[in-house]
C-alpha cells in the first residue's frame, strides 16, 4: 500500500532508531541484568519504573498488585488508552549469574530473549517517541507485568485488566523474539504438573518398591494414547520431566510438566479430566501417591484473521522486509483477547537458545523490530482497533 502514510514513515523510523540504539541497548542491559524470577520481580520492577521516570513519562506508578506502569498522555482525553506490555519475570533465579556479554552484534545472557529485549524496548519508548517527535491522540500505557510465566499464571496482567478503570482501545504485547512474529489468537490452555511420590516406610525401603520415573512413564504412555480430535484442533505438549537422585537408587519422587492446548477451552478441560483419570488410576494400581495440579490456564480467544489490527500488522511487518509469522500465544495476549480488547503479540529481534542461560539476541535487527511497534501504535491510534 504505497500511499499509506504510516508505511511511508517506517524507513525513517529505522534509521532514526539506529542512531539512538544505545538508549535501547542500555535499557536491555540495565534491566535485564537484574534477576527477576517469577514472584521476585521487585528489584527489576523498581528499576523499570525508575527508568521510565527518568525518561519523563507523564505518570509513573505501581498498581495495587505491583505492576509498574507509566502513562504518556495523549492529546485527546476522550480516547481510550492504548497499551504496550512486556512481562518482567524470567525463568532464572537469583543464583544464576546475570552478567550479560555484549559482542559487536549480539547480547548473550539468561533471559535476554525472554524477555529483557521486550522490557528494555518498553522502557525506551518515551525517549524514542521524543527523539522521533511522535505524538498520539490516545494515552499510551506502558506496563511491565509481573507474575506472568509458569506458576505466575498471568496474575499481573489479569489484575491490571480487571482493575483498569476505563475501556482499553487496543494492546501490543512485546516479546524479545522472533522478529516477524505476529500472534493474534490464543488457544485455550491448561498447564499442569503431575507428581509421583513413592511412600517409604520410616526410611526402610522395600527392595522392589515402585520406581517413580517408571510410573510417570506409564502416565506418559497413556497420555500419548489419548485420541485427540482434529477439530477443535488440540494437542498435549510434555514440556519437562524431573526426578531421581543418582544412577543406582530407585527414585521415590518424579514430576512431569505438560500443557494441554486447544482452540476450544471445553476440549482442554475434557482432555485434562481424562489425564486426571489416568493419573488416579495409575496411582491406585501402583500404590503410589499421584497428584495432578493445575499451574496455569487461559481461555481460548482470538481476533479474526481479517481484523484490521491483524491486517495492519501484516502490512507493517511486510513493509519492513520481514515475513509475518502468524501464530498464537498463551500469554498476556490471551488475557487482552478474553477481555475483548484487540491485541497482538510482536517479536522484536532475532535470537536463539531461548530460555537457556546463554540465550542470545541480535542487535542489528532490533531497529526494525522497534519500528514495527511505532508503526503499530500509530495505526492503532488512527483507529484500526476501533472497527
Amino acid at each position: 500500500m504505497p500511499n499509506d502514510p504510516i508505511i511511508a514513515r517506517l524507513p525513517g523510523f529505522v534509521s532514526a532508531i539506529e542512531a539512538i540504539r544505545e538508549l535501547v541497548l542500555a535499557n536491555i542491559l540495565l534491566l535485564g541484568q537484574i534477576p527477576a524470577p517469577t514472584f521476585q520481580e521487585q528489584a527489576r520492577s523498581a528499576a523499570f519504573l525508575e527508568r521510565l521516570t527518568q525518561a519523563q513519562a507523564d505518570e509513573c506508578a505501581t498498581d495495587g498488585y505491583g505492576n509498574p506502569i507509566a502513562i504518556i498522555r495523549g492529546s485527546d482525553p476522550a480516547r481510550p488508552p492504548l497499551f504496550a506490555v512486556a512481562h518482567l519475570d524470567t525463568l532464572f533465579g537469583r543464583e544464576v549469574d546475570h552478567d550479560y556479554q555484549v559482542g559487536r552484534n549480539e547480547i548473550i545472557g539468561p533471559g535476554v530473549t525472554d524477555n529483557s529485549v521486550g522490557v528494555g524496548v518498553l522502557a525506551s519508548l518515551p525517549e524514542i517517541f521524543r527523539h522521533l517527535n511522535l505524538r498520539f491522540a490516545s494515552d499510551i500505557v506502558l506496563a511491565g507485568v509481573i507474575q506472568s510465566i509458569g506458576k505466575g499464571n498471568l496474575r499481573g496482567i489479569r489484575h491490571l485488566l480487571k482493575t483498569w478503570p476505563t475501556p482499553i482501545r487496543g494492546a501490543l504485547v512485546l516479546e524479545s523474539v522472533a522478529l516477524g512474529r505476529l500472534d493474534y489468537y490464543a488457544d485455550g490452555m491448561i498447564r499442569a504438573e503431575i507428581e509421583c511420590r513413592v511412600r517409604t516406610n520410616h526410611g526402610h525401603e522395600p527392595k522392589f518398591r515402585p520406581n517413580a520415573i517408571l510410573v510417570l512413564n506409564e502416565v506418559l504412555n497413556q497420555v500419548q494414547a489419548i485420541r485427540l480430535p482434529q477439530r477443535p484442533r488440540s494437542r498435549v505438549i510434555v514440556g519437562r520431566i524431573d526426578g531421581g537422585t543418582k544412577h543406582g537408587v530407585i527414585p521415590s519422587l518424579a514430576t512431569l510438566g505438560l500443557e494441554i492446548q486447544s482452540t476450544a477451552y471445553g476440549m482442554v478441560k475434557s482432555i485434562y479430566d481424562e489425564i486426571r483419570d489416568i493419573v488416579s488410576g495409575i496411582g491406585y494400581e501402583n500404590e503410589v501417591g499421584m497428584e495432578i495440579k493445575t499451574i496455569s490456564n487461559t481461555r481460548a480467544a482470538r481476533l479474526p484473521y481479517n481484523h484490521p489490527l491483524v491486517k495492519s500488522a501484516v502490512r507493517i511487518i511486510a513493509a519492513l522486509d520481514l515475513q509475518p509469522a502468524l501464530s498464537h500465544s498463551e500469554s498476556e495476549l490471551s488475557i487482552f483477547l478474553s477481555h475483548e480488547i484487540p491485541a497482538v503479540t510482536l517479536g522484536l529481534t532475532l535470537g536463539d537458545n531461548v530460555n537457556q542461560t546463554d540465550s542470545r539476541m541480535e542487535i542489528a535487527p532490533l531497529p526494525r523490530g522497534i519500528a514495527q511497534v511505532l508503526g503499530m501504535l500509530l495505526a492503532m491510534d488512527s483507529g484500526v482497533c476501533d472497527a
Binding site: I20, E22, L23, L25, A26, N27, L29, L30, Q33, Q54, D99, Y100, Q101, V102, G103, R104, E127
Partner: protein, 335 residues
Amino acid sequence: MPDSWLRRHTFHYAQFRDLARLVAVKEEKGMTVSICLPTLNEEKTIAKELIILRSELMTRFPLVDEIVVVDSGSTDRTGEVARAFGAAFYRADEILPDLEKRRGKGENLWKALYITRGDIICYLDADIKNIHHRFAYGLIGPLILHDGIKYAKAFYDRPLAVGKNAVRPTGGGRVTELVIRPLFALFFPELTQILQPLSGEYAACRQLLEQIPFPIGYGIETSMILDIWQRWGLEVMCQVDLEKRVHRNQETKALGKMAFVIMQTFFRRLSRMDHLRLQGEMHHQMIQYRLVGDDYQADRFTYGGHERPPMIQIPAYREKFHRAAAGVPLPTDGV
C-alpha cells in the same frame, strides 16, 4: 591526624545523580569532559561499558563530550568492537609516535591527555562487569560542582562490619590492605584516609594531570596520589563511594607482581621526597618460583620503573593545548 578530610571529602555517588543539574553547571562553567578507557584485549567487556556510558551520559544527558579508548596493543577485536559502539579508538604507540615506545596502563592514561580534549578526564577500567554510569558521573560530579576539588577517586563496596549494625565499605583488596595501606601508615598516615588508593577509576582536571609524571605500569595509582598530595595537598582530592564493583579475581602470583611494581614506585617516591635514603639500587626483577617436575624454575618479571614526564613538558602537547611550560595554576579555594 586531621580525620576531618575523610568526613568532608568522602561522597556517595547518589549525591551527583541529578544529571540534569550536573549538565547545567558544566555548561555554565564552560567545561568539557572526556572519558578514557585504557584497554588490552577487552573485546568481551568493552561494548557493554560503551553502550551504557554513551546512552546515559552522552545521548540522554550531554555530560560527557567524548569517549576514547587507548589500547596497549590488543590482539583480539577490542578496536573493532570499540569503534562499532561509537568510541574513538587509538593505539598508544600511534600517539606521539616520535617518543620511545612504552607499554602499560600508565602509558595509556598519559597519552590520553594528548588525544582527549576535556577539561575533566575520567579514567575507567574497561573490564567492569557490573558497569553502570554512576562509575563515571559519581567521579565527574565532584569536579563539576566543587571548585576546589581537582581529583576524585573511587572506592567500592567491600563490606566490613563496623559497630552494631553499620556495614560500610571501608577497605580495599589484598594489595591495598597488605601493601599500600601499611606503607601509607608508616610514612604518610594522612593518606590512609583514602580508602581504596589502588582503585582503577578516577577523574581529574587536566590542569592537574598535565603537571604530574606517569609511571607506565601498575604504579600509576600510587604515584598519582603521592604526587598530587605532595604538590597540592589532600584538599584538592575527594573520594566517592560507587557501591558495588564486581572485581575480576586475580591469582596471588599476579597480585605479587602488582605489589612489586607498587612498592618500587612507592620507594622511588620516598627517596625523591627525601623520606628514605636507599643505600643501594633497587632491583628491577620480581622473581617467583614454580615447581616443574622435580625442579624449581624461576619466573622473572622485569619492571624498569619507567615514567613519563609531566605532559606539560612535551612541546607537541603545549602547542596543541596552547599551554605555557609552567602549566595552568590551580585555584586553591576550598570545598
